[in-house]
Symmetry: C2
Amino acid sequence: MENYGVGKVIDSTHPEFKSGDLVWGMSGWEEYTLVYQPESLIKINHTELPLSYYTGVLGMTGLTAYAGVMEVGRPKRGDFVFVSAASGAVGQVAGQLAKIAGCYVVGSAGSDEKVDLLKTKFGFDDAFNYKSETDFAAALKRCLPDGIDIYFDNVGGATLDAALLHMRHGGRVVVCGMISQYNLEEPDGLRNMLCIIPKAVRVEGFNVAGYFHMYSRFEEEMARYIKEGKIAVVEDVVEGIESAPVALVGLFSGRNLGKQLVALARE
Amino acid sequence: MENYGVGKVIDSTHPEFKSGDLVWGMSGWEEYTLVYQPESLIKINHTELPLSYYTGVLGMTGLTAYAGVMEVGRPKRGDFVFVSAASGAVGQVAGQLAKIAGCYVVGSAGSDEKVDLLKTKFGFDDAFNYKSETDFAAALKRCLPDGIDIYFDNVGGATLDAALLHMRHGGRVVVCGMISQYNLEEPDGLRNMLCIIPKAVRVEGFNVAGYFHMYSRFEEEMARYIKEGKIAVVEDVVEGIESAPVALVGLFSGRNLGKQLVALARE
């Protein structure tokens, strides 16, 4: 099993990597790992920032949020943006990028603690706990009475269906993930796609694989935002490989607060 | 009740329209009609072509097909294109425009006569009668074994759901209409939207209202295609206002063959 991680090069016969280099990319869940495709690794330039950021805000999840918001969502100043699973690794960055782009940003999350984090730490204009709302559509209308220009979807299912009805003309649904659907025997049926015709709504699926060509630009821009305090980061770190299974399963019940990391070794 | 029609100006106090001008646009279902918003009318430039074309291929439905294929679908040479309700007013033009753009085009329709029309008259590369297929997904796979780059959707529902599963990476679903859904108490649930994430598929609703700014360019281009024989036209004309109700209802059962017109008067 492999996943995104950070590490230090111990030894290398590849001309672009030398002993001591810090890198991020796909690696094993282990303290020492043998990398057969070093081309898939990316060198870490901003070593003045926490290394763990390269597993999240400066790595794959940050690039995912950046590509989704900037390239797929294409925000305009004043746009109304809704982000689901907003305190998660991708959602927290997506919402903050939309704020930087001058949008009004609302997030949903699954606990009052997460909602509080969205409003106080990540600068969302508004947020709600979907688990304590009896009517999700009503919550959307309360927080975004004029509708949604960009919906950054991390959950799919009933949330996506409700958001579709509430999209504004020319709106964009950035379909990044559908965490509510992954473990179902049969996915929920979406009933509101019809409304994308009169409202000329674009629903676009994407994944980070298509955006690695813009990594350098992204890394510099994101590192600057972090240093300027425009992007805040919250990570949920568990210690040791023995904690990994519980942490992994917890993603599906929303146990984690921010990017879920497993620390195997530290500098 | 108003609809798109063609007519001759009898009298006008509007500076841009004079007696004798031929125009198309929204008008009453009547032999003589009083137009309160002449700004909504468009003058007919190509009077050498059949006037009825301005209710279809040179009018609203033609512009719909043009905008959907060229602006939303953005075809590339060699793309695999699937059009549902392909012998209908919009479908027949959409498929032929995709052919002009160098695509491989497959259509579905609801009778063998329509399928024959698609292959012989409209130049589709392949076509099938969805009513005689036991497995729609299998028919798609047979006709488009390498998948779909552009699906021009006129029907929605189960057809859209099957097409979603068969999209290629980076594919585009041009959502123009969902005729299968308009008369349902509750729309069918779409279960395959999940696959737009790994395949980075764009599903975009649109309507012609957003594209009238390109009408002049469209009119010239389409008139040229018609004269060059690159776009064929099939119309289904019923005579007299007394035939209108049956013709209208017939749209939902697929009775019509090509653009459904009601002739109230002739030049």
